[in-house]
């Protein structure tokens, strides 16, 4: 499956639009990571644990979006957008959405 955040695919024509597909995932960090993070809050610097966690959950959101796209019979998702929001203390929602299309 082709995934891109352009509105067109260079060199290919869109045959059919299938509408919006989306995927989301909400993840919380475990306590160990929280303790490490609060230490880092004193010293400053990158929170590697959180970076990994958010990356994993973003991949999961994208996977769900791809599954949805496959189930409607698309072979590409165009114009993808990501958004992140912290829904509660210690949990973040990662959301990915895009337009499912059939390419020639």
């Amino acid at each position: 499956m082709l995934i891109t955040n352009l509105e067109i695919v260079p060199g290919k024509r869109v045959v059919k639009h299938l509408g919006l597909v989306q995927g989301s995932s909400v993840r919380a960090k475990h306590v160990g990571r929280d303790i490490m993070a609060s230490l880092k809050n004193i010293f400053g610097g990158e929170l590697k644990g959180y970076t990994e966690l958010l990356q994993e959950s973003r991949e999961e959101a994208m996977n769900r979006m791809q599954q949805q796209a496959q189930s409607v019979g698309a072979n590409a998702v165009l114009n993808i957008r990501f958004s992140t929001s912290s829904v509660a203390q210690g949990a973040a929602e990662l959301f990915a959405y895009g337009t499912a299309v059939v390419l020639e």
Partner: protein, 157 residues
């Protein structure tokens, strides 16, 4: 009295380690920016039609980064007087540049020569006490255009 001592120790630790970390981070950012200078990142929505049709794929880069205790203290003081909060400016600057660099690195590994339609997303994922910004996440994403030869060898459509 005990509280004051703890505060001073935390401030000193934050100042020392925070400055060290920031200096080191900027050094590595500048070095890598020089390395990936040839990889163009463009915020245009449509690639030029004159290009031979390349293969394309989504690339992302993200980073979660936190300020140190000393800077957070400075920012809290700034809240009293107003004005530029320099300690957070440098935090966000570092985070954005790091995220873009990671995205470029991913694109370079795929053999791309350009990244189109870059978008940058910022989220404050954990709020500290009194709703102060503790750490921010920056995500940079775009579409890497891979020239046909390189795309064919790495197996990406």
């Amino acid at each position: 009295m005990f509280d004051l001592i703890v505060l001073i120790i935390l401030l000193a630790l934050g100042y020392g380690f925070g400055r060290l970390a920031e200096k080191r981070h900027y050094k590595s950012i500048i070095a890598r920016e020089r390395k990936y200078r040839k990889l163009y990142v463009i915020a245009a929505k449509f690639p030029p039609v004159t290009l031979p049709p390349p293969s394309s794929t989504l690339v992302t880069g993200s980073v979660v980064i936190s300020v140190d205790y000393f800077k957070r203290f400075l920012a809290a003081l700034r809240n009293l007087f107003g004005g530029r909060v320099k300690s957070y400016e440098s935090l966000l600057d570092r985070a954005r540049r790091e995220a873009i660099l990671r995205m470029k690195q991913q694109a370079a590994e795929l053999g791309a020569d350009m990244v189109f339609n870059i978008k940058i997303e910022t989220a404050s994922i954990s709020k500290g006490r009194k709703q102060t910004v503790g750490s921010v996440e920056v995500l940079a994403y775009g579409t890497a255009l891979i020239p046909e030869a390189a795309g064919a060898s790495s197996g990406i459509r």
